[in-house]
Symmetry: C2
Subunit: 396 residues, 2 copies
Amino acid sequence: MSVAVPRGYKVAGMFCGIKASKKLDLSLIVSETPAAAAGVYTQNLVCAAPVILDRQRTPSDQIRAVVINSGNANACTGERGAQDAARMAELAAQTCGARPEQVLVLSTGIIGEFLPMEKLAVGIPSVADKLATDEASLIAAAQGMLTTDTTHKLAARQIKLANTTIQLTGMAKGAAMIGPRMATMLAVIMTDAALTPADAQRLLATVVEDSFNCISVDGHMSTNDTVLLLANGAASARPLAGAELEQFGQALQEVATDLAKAIPIDGEGATHLITVDVEGCATREAARQIAKTVAESLLVKTAIAGADPNWGRIVSAAGYAGVPFRPQGVNLRVNGVQLYQAGQPTTFNRAAVSRSIRENRETAIELSFSEGTAKIRFWTTDLTAEYVRLNADYTT
Amino acid sequence: MSVAVPRGYKVAGMFCGIKASKKLDLSLIVSETPAAAAGVYTQNLVCAAPVILDRQRTPSDQIRAVVINSGNANACTGERGAQDAARMAELAAQTCGARPEQVLVLSTGIIGEFLPMEKLAVGIPSVADKLATDEASLIAAAQGMLTTDTTHKLAARQIKLANTTIQLTGMAKGAAMIGPRMATMLAVIMTDAALTPADAQRLLATVVEDSFNCISVDGHMSTNDTVLLLANGAASARPLAGAELEQFGQALQEVATDLAKAIPIDGEGATHLITVDVEGCATREAARQIAKTVAESLLVKTAIAGADPNWGRIVSAAGYAGVPFRPQGVNLRVNGVQLYQAGQPTTFNRAAVSRSIRENRETAIELSFSEGTAKIRFWTTDLTAEYVRLNADYTT
């Protein structure tokens, strides 16, 4: 996996003065030529100004740039917020000779404060001056979108086609306010493949279902969640089709999954990445609902933080997911050890399972049912006192 | 409000050896004559043996006793658990000359371990020897049902009828695994009024909707939730009807609400009782769904723990509740201060609101919408590091 900027893009990140911490807070992605672009957005009724703007502009075959700020979500900011988002797009468009409507905008950070537009008016031309194609610039761009994340998140895949090699490179942010159906997470995936806008939108919507919609840190759906896909065709002028499109879709799924998993791995205060595998359900949505309910149970999450193989909390969370199942058909494994079989607790070495949870950064919860063949994989974090400390002190 | 044992009942509580802590773990309530009894139970598909048993036995006009143990939930214990619950009823029936099917059983505590029946075989006759009508015995009975609660929970009302005075006295337990649609909470409400079983069941189901189904500590619906109402007619032989029945229903609602609120007040690690008032919704269920989503948001709960008037978290939680509303019609007050009006943040004194949260044990969140006239009141707790510590260390 080569984490490189795909052909035809330039990227940059810098500190422009939004964050008190002086960490990077502004990123810019520019495509030399108009790119096909697709977006998937939060379903929160209270959504941020940049989400409203981007929704109107995707899918598209004309996108030239994405401008991203962190430290301020531009959410719950009304008409002035809408003007500020539009102004960010204008400022970015001026730096690359694009029309304002060829620019998408992403914001993340505190809700309900107005953007410091004077800083962005200076910052956006400055970050444009730094646009480049090297790895350091890519990392800076990925850093400029972070809030409480402890690390930047990049993922990439290459696929070899008959005449060319396609690069997919994505960046994401997110460490809390992460619930399924998107979260305070932002992601931008760039590719030098050519795609029709319709294919870009369809593929993105599909891969989000099995990646960003399968993660939860705290179940709180954000106002700003956005995943964008840009495809500028620098590596293949003709839009992908048939087997090549399918191969691309697979690589896109892998990049999206890598980025999605990176979010709970970096979950606020998290000490464990928990994978919840649910199988044997009547439908995929039933499996998702059970996995989500287990993943969001505070009692399950605190049990894993405490290295406690408390299967009762897991099984009882499944029981209130609102999905009918036969209790006698339930099986549960934690880190490969059967704790519950056919609706009954098993005899197991509690100390050994506890040790395996404590000594591993990842915990595997496998629940199976007897209602069908549908399954899903979901990722979440444990819940620690550190999460509470971080979130009790965020603005004050 | 006189917290007394209603006429015709005797109660007791003691330590019989289930809890390592040596705190009281066994309670018995006996009615001298057969009582009308109603029950409302967990909707968790994985429910405990005593819930299955009580469901079969209510509503009834023949109940003589309720036997309650804490320290062990008798949940996920299969056929042997069912036999143990039935045996508890038999043992209790023997102490008061009742038939086994005239006894209801409640259990709470750790899931998935078998009850220590040898201790209960000795304990149930012993606790029967302590049956009395004084306040100390009532408190002991209320203590015998506790788990991680820090205090027992009693509530009472008296109503004067033409010829008699009716007493309602309830006891409850619960401090975690508390979600709407019941929680790891148990409650028994005794009255010396006479009720038909049908009226008892109808009234109990109604009052639970506005009391125990309006509280959440952690949103985790338990396997054991049960609310029982016993009405033995010792104060009025003829079943209540008409205006008297209505007056009784009002008092029952007050007792149930007092008991329900006592649960989040005693929520594990909680430093604030949060009241979430939602009004202006199209339906009561829409209001409940919004209130529940706000009440269960980790980000809202940690914000209150940190005395942070973070209205963005509250408004965005409402936004993902799955209930349609006009964002421009949303208003929010916290502790009486308007933070958000007609979909826009207001200018308010952040330090003053923060201080009012910090210095008061109760926090009032009031959300209004513009979709209709339905409203609801919901109670929850804040989320502290202490909650996490308590729940990371529960079994191991």
